[in-house]
Subunit: 563 residues, 2 copies
């Protein structure tokens, strides 16, 4: 292409990256970004913190503006210009100037669709009432800020417990607002497995959030005293001054559908590895497209900024004739939830089940740094891996400081197709305030590798049938007394070698301790002495989390004994 | 081996790991640890913080004790037992009970040497004077604590600016002691390249450390007023109450030499990939051995806890007939220095030069998280990679929060033989408080990949010859005025496209900005317009660091203009 005309629809993340990259590849190209909004390249990930006034200067959210695009990149940005039609045969788009109402036709050599996604707004009765907001744009956040101040909001209901729901709950609390969080599922943060979220449920409640799981919205009615009442499926009513809808987003595909572009089963625009749509002159990037998951190979919707940027660069490369291929997504993500951090990469257990992919898993609860240095916090970790070759399939971590670090390491390990045997051998940073000579990542690899090698086979709490196996608790008597699993027999690890005669020779023995380490030692002792011993991965701590995940409406105390 | 007798000399890190692993592999083996000290498996990495009273309870440093080894692992620990001789032919050792003086002969099937390393004590005159300490054991730290309290230490001299020197400087300052740090080299932290340490030099001085680089100790004399005077090579005297010798450690090889075991050129015990010495019944692990660097393939001494633990497990596996192979070391390390964190993995530039390995490098200074979220700090990063295929050879990072996280990611990428092209594509955790949609790791990969692809070739400040090239500063005029490199011409990036006629068509143009990003954009513009443009990697910030590294005796202000 000599002097191509590249038009880009949508100037945030993917679109902006594509434009800048296209300029770096061609000084000659004419590059125009159209955006129906007032801003280009703004920091939408920062919006909840702007509502929370942690970021108080709106200007900080403007990563770049139209002038910068012009002066730095010679890229034209036309704001408040909505692309209303595409004619793929003629290679033109119809653009409406939202200020004047004029409609112009613009020819293109390459068209890039980066329209993003829109908040899902189910047809709830009363959805149009004042005080009900979604959060997607700077004007959205301005309106919420104004509403909070003008209406002196005291109580808010956040609908949806995903990333935005979590961040909005935290930020509204930061403003001194009492928050009720309604989530239809029995857990928050759907990309995670349920048992990994029980500590988050507890944390949310400790922070004062009124967390209502397994309860969805039925509708909204106005109320003289409070402004609004949120009616729920359980029959409970929640009076409030402010509702944040954070149910999720759906890809913006109106234009793509009008243009006859192929969509996928998940409702996003279908593209190839070069971000090209079914029309050879149209590319698409960002939240509007479907992407392939590198673990499950399934088409999926992953509205994340990092992949959107990579997609933008890939599309620019493709347009300019480079053969860059998008390698798919692994859905690495992180969320700060008050003092906690939750992070994951790759597939969850439920995603692997859905995809019919064989997997094994381990749970662990290592300290984020050595226990002898002040301030050590545990990280709850779950590692999913192939039972055949140990290849990493996914990882989840929940904790405080140092949590997302371990997931970043797992993410690049997954990208490199490493196995749990490689994690065992990883050489990571260690000083007392940063980790341990055996880092949590090493531990995860060791537990998994020991299981795969058959040295210390692991079993899962959900498979426990206390009639068929002997359940052995190797913790100290005081720990056992404070709470244990029904039908468990207590033989503390230090006494095990002397009390082998108490154990059944024909029956499988499932061993647990608090987090899995002593049970591992016990399993090794027993297997070497001829017993069929297995380690219940994650120990009593994981058992408690699973138990609570099955009954998430209340918070069990860790010391609460099983009935 | 049916019921082998495994004797282990030294019960910290490698030795303790080896013993525990051996037990997990064999219930039948007789396992005995001998240690001449009073403690087994103590946290020597915590000792500086015990001196600093950040860890105030000595018991916390005892990771395990002899009773735990016995009760949990059925491992005998004989403390205050010094192994004084090995008879490899007879497969026996002579052990002296340090309390009774008795010497016993103990037979072994497998002997594991884990004697560690000893602080280097050069033959300085006056070295025996009271108040001069090294720090390696719990009794060492006790003595220093007592000396600080009894002698009411006000001024200390730390000799040596490596890991222990850094941690001791911080911890003595924590105790309210004025610290002079003497380092013979022109930089602290020798595993890092000099220009990466200039920010640390500034930080140390800002924190009140009297940092004396390029100055070594000549000797010590006692002084009536102050207790001690440290005499230095520069002729300056430092009166003090306390001297910490932190010059480094040397492998403990007395026993190995007596036994006729092969040593390497670096003075450590030579072992194979199964940790076996030149005697087939003797293994060696930890700080006493030489290991192979996976980047340079050179034999080296790497006294780090993580590798020592891995070595211990490898030796146990080998003794029990498993074919585990030690993969070598990559020297991943981290150090907290007051508020800063420095971390590295793989080879430094000087190590690559020494080994004659071709390399390319990039410098960058990204924020540890997005700039719009409060509290963003820059991380100074340096990435070394193969100029042929982009394979990662080493990485260094200096900053605050989030610094060692990026090195952990680089460490596992290096382990997986990933390239800079893989770093470009890495999908890491992003939310505003944790990183950026383009993480510093991605940026490092992108800059390097753009250079390798020829899109934006990079050049190094140390090769700058202002006579032969045009030096172009594309920062804004106010930045240029505040300080710039001699002979640089200022054309701000936004004006570049309109001022191309001012540029020479035949001469190479070396472009710089503050950190490298605008220079990258400019380089792309210029190359597409037919100019031979190159990006000076790391920008003015790296230039200033290099400048300061050449003259480390004083701290340049960042805005200080070049003469």
């Amino acid at each position: 292409m000599g002097k191509p005309r590249i038009l880009i629809v949508g100037g945030v993340a993917g679109g902006a990256s594509c434009a800048a990259r296209a300029r770096r590849l061609s000084e000659e190209a004419e590059i125009v970004i159209f955006d129906r909004g007032q801003f280009v390249s703004f920091a939408n990930c920062g919006l909840p913190y702007y509502v929370g006034d942690l970021i108080s200067d709106e200007k900080k959210l403007l990563v770049a503006n139209a002038n910068l695009f012009q002066s730095r990149f010679n890229i034209q940005v036309r704001l408040e210009h909505e692309v209303i039609d595409i004619d793929p045969a003629a290679q033109t788009i119809q653009v409406k100037n939202l200020q004047t109402g004029d409609v112009l036709s613009e020819p293109y050599d390459a068209l890039v669709l980066s329209p993003g996604a829109a908040p899902i707004r189910p047809p709830f009765p009363g959805l149009e009432l004042p005080g009900i907001f979604a959060l997607r744009t700077i004007p959205d956040s301005r309106r919420i800020r104004e509403w909070i101040e003008v209406d002196r909001v005291k109580r808010a209901v956040v609908v949806g417990g995903g990333f935005i729901g979590m961040e909005m709950s935290e930020n509204l609390m930061r403003r001194g607002i009492q928050v009720t969080l309604l989530e239809k599922l029995p857990q928050v943060m759907p990309p995670f497995d349920a048992e990994m979220m029980t500590a988050v449920h507890t944390h949310l409640r400790e922070k004062g959030v009124d967390l209502c799981l397994s309860n969805g919205v039925k509708g909204f009615v106005s109320d003289k005293a409070d402004g609004l009442i949120v009616q729920t499926e359980s029959g409970d009513d929640y009076p409030t001054n402010l509702v944040i809808l954070a149910i999720g987003v759906r890809p913006e595909t109106t234009l793509a559908e009008q243009a006859g572009l192929q969509l996928g089963d998940r409702g996003g625009i279908r593209v190839n590895a070069q971000m090209q749509t079914s029309d050879p002159h149209i590319w698409a990037v960002g939240d509007a497209i479907e992407v392939q998951d590198i673990v499950t190979n399934e088409w999926t919707l992953v509205p994340l900024a990092g992949p959107a940027n990579r997609q933008g660069r890939t599309a620019a490369d493709a347009i300019m004739g480079y053969d860059t291929q998008f390698r798919g997504v692994q859905s690495t993500s992180v969320c700060g939830i008050f003092d906690m951090t939750v992070a994951c990469t790759g597939a969850s257990e439920k995603a692997l089940k859905r995809a019919g992919i064989p997997y094994a898993k381990v749970y662990l609860h290592p300290g984020h740094h050595v226990s002898y240095f002040p301030g050590a916090h545990p990280i709850d970790m779950k590692l999913l891996f192939s039972p055949d070759d140990g290849r990493i399939l996914g990882a989840q971590a929940v904790g405080y400081e140092g949590t997302e670090k371990r997931i970043d390491v797992m993410a690049i390990a997954l990208q490199a197709s490493l196995t749990v045997f490689d994690l065992e051998e990883a050489e990571l940073c260690y000083a007392p305030q940063f980790g341990a000579a055996k880092d949590p990542v090493n531990f995860a690899g060791m537990i998994a590798a020991n299981a795969l090698r058959g040295d210390a086979p692991i079993v899962y709490w959900e498979h426990l049938s206390a009639e068929q196996v002997m359940l052995l608790d190797v913790r100290n008597p005081d720990e056992f007394e404070a709470g244990h699993v029904a039908n468990a027999v207590n033989i503390p690890l230090p006494e095990l070698r002397d009390r082998l005669s108490e154990l059944p020779e024909q029956q499988d023995i499932w061993v647990y301790c608090q987090v899995g380490q002593r049970a591992y030692y016990a399993t090794r002792v027993l297997r070497q002495c001829g017993y069929n011993a297995y380690n219940l991965t994650g120990g009593y701590k994981t058992q408690q989390a699973m138990d609570q995940a099955l009954d998430p409406t209340h918070t069990l105390h860790p010391e609460h004994p099983r009935p």
